[in-house]
Symmetry: C4
Subunit: 193 residues, 4 copies
């Protein structure tokens, strides 16, 4: 199977998931709207982190599938698995927006980091399978660079899950740092995609 | 008419319907967020089954229309009929998420399985019409394999509707089993799509 | 300007507007779910009529822009004007779903038919402008057929607006009849699109 | 990197953001539906201004990226930054719809104009970066015309932010005027895009 429609479908899902994030920012009420807007700062932080995270996964998805010429049924379902976690992101984003500065901060942070970890693992499954089947040609150096980057991301997400139980704010900060880190350009020679 | 825009439009609808599923998972409230999250397990099951189901229908739609070069007005409306059921899926998903472990379990399960059955019938109408008009070329063997697979799926959905009245949990399990079954690769020789 | 991205953007908007319709069907509550589901019949009717209507406008938009090779800034904004009404449709659909069998039936029906009328007028503006500028080549016969079909639709929508004040149910039935009429194949020779 | 998928993804995001605006128009309740519909006029104005604004940004995005052949990682993230503001628009639109004729008019207008200003600045960052890197070829005259138009828009949005504190209605009117101004065709010779 060609990957054109897989990419188009995935682009659609990414685009919608990233756009639905705005629905988690509720229009505040109350007599003093300035103050009510200020009280929503958790929503803005959660929106920013989630938007960046989905945006980066999209950039990386783009980078990977641009180089994948064919896909089999297994790869299509591995891609669906990845999208299942991407689509879920507005849910833990809403949890964080509502609970991060309350008594439910720990579960909100753990679930948030957990979904990002699951998404990272699914992404790794995609490129590892595509590489193993020869659907994407990677040089040994590219393979090492990808593995290093990917492992770093997954390690930090795992750390964020663990820290979520005891220090929810730090957990969220790590998730943001991972996103910010991926925005920065690679210093290792980039694959010509 | 060429099918490029039909596929693009359908991809968009599938992508949005699958993404809207997340809106049926409500951010839980209450003093103990861990417990509140645990109480939402019906939402997660319903999300999983519906996501897999829409994902599979998309894969099959892709498989079919990749091989259809032209479409007439009737096929466009048969495709719209299929999409009408796909778009509806978040509604019974919400019903199941809210009612499957309460007193409304039977109607929720019946409506859920019923919408999946209607979707399956619409899909069958699409490929049967396309085959009858010669828009898609299928060998006799492919035709038999498709018919067998399709009939099995429809039979199980019909069973799920009937069982929904008396055993809603079993009905939902059947819907999940159908989805899981379709994820598995064919053992019959696959059409070269 | 080429129309490829205009079509892709429009397809996206149609796909989302048609999918958002499901959000107007609320998951019912109450001790007897069967009965509660039955009470929602206005939602199902409204969903059906609006889905068909957006679907048909999409088919016609497809038919028109497939034959338009170039677009200028004016046509892009005429297309945006059309989309503005298409995107609005979930709003009057929700009004009808909630009010058609209550005391607000008249305003709901008038607003519903009014939005469809505005959409029809915008569609007419699109193809008339495209034809006047020579962006689409229509034979005299095609022009007559298009004009006849279009005028009939607009006439019935105008009638539905007027009747909405006194007979809201009849008004909605006319909107459904117009949609159903457009689903039927043309008897006049069709343009080779 | 080629820009095809960047454009497809952006089109998806624009299409969804523009469609989600309808969710900010709530179906009104109350015994007198005509009157209740009339009371929602702020929603309609907000919908109109935001729809036009997103539509115009889409037209301009289209005009820019049609001429950009390649994109690097930085441009992809500048584009994501622009989309982050576009996606946010339904939020201040909802604020305006709910508060513009109440006691929260000032913060609603300031936030609304502020988001449009941020979006305009992000758009300027996109084309300035693309021009500086030579990804888009602009003649000196085109550059001057773009700069003049862009600066005018940004200046008016900054004015709207400032006026929002003291005259929220005027602030909103300026936002509408900017949108309407961009709908009008250029009098300066247009780039052949």
């Amino acid at each position: 199977m060609r990957t054109a429609r897989l990419e188009a479908f995935s682009d659609g899902v990414f685009a919608i998931a990233i756009t639905l994030l705005v629905l988690e920012i509720r229009a505040p009420h109350g007599p003093d709207l300035w103050r009510a807007l200020g009280h929503e700062w958790e929503s803005y932080v959660a929106y920013l982190v989630s938007f960046l995270t989905i945006g980066i996964i999209w950039v990386n998805h783009h980078g990977l599938y641009d180089r994948v010429a064919r896909a089999d049924r297994t790869l299509m379902f591995l891609n669906l698995l990845l999208l299942m976690w991407v689509v879920l992101i507005p849910f833990p984003t809403g949890l964080v927006a509502e609970h991060i500065s309350g008594s439910g901060a720990a579960p909100a942070a753990v679930v948030y980091a957990g979904v990002l970890l699951a998404m990272g693992l699914s992404f790794a499954a995609n490129w590892r399978y595509a590489a193993a089947r020869g659907y994407v040609q990677l040089t040994a150096e590219e393979m090492r660079a990808l593995t290093r980057r990917n492992s770093a991301g997954l390690g930090f997400y795992a750390l964020a899950v663990a820290l979520g139980f005891v220090a929810p704010g730090v957990s969220l900060a790590i998730c943001f740092a991972v996103a910010a880190y991926y925005v920065l350009p690679d210093r290792v020679p980039q694959p010509r995609s």
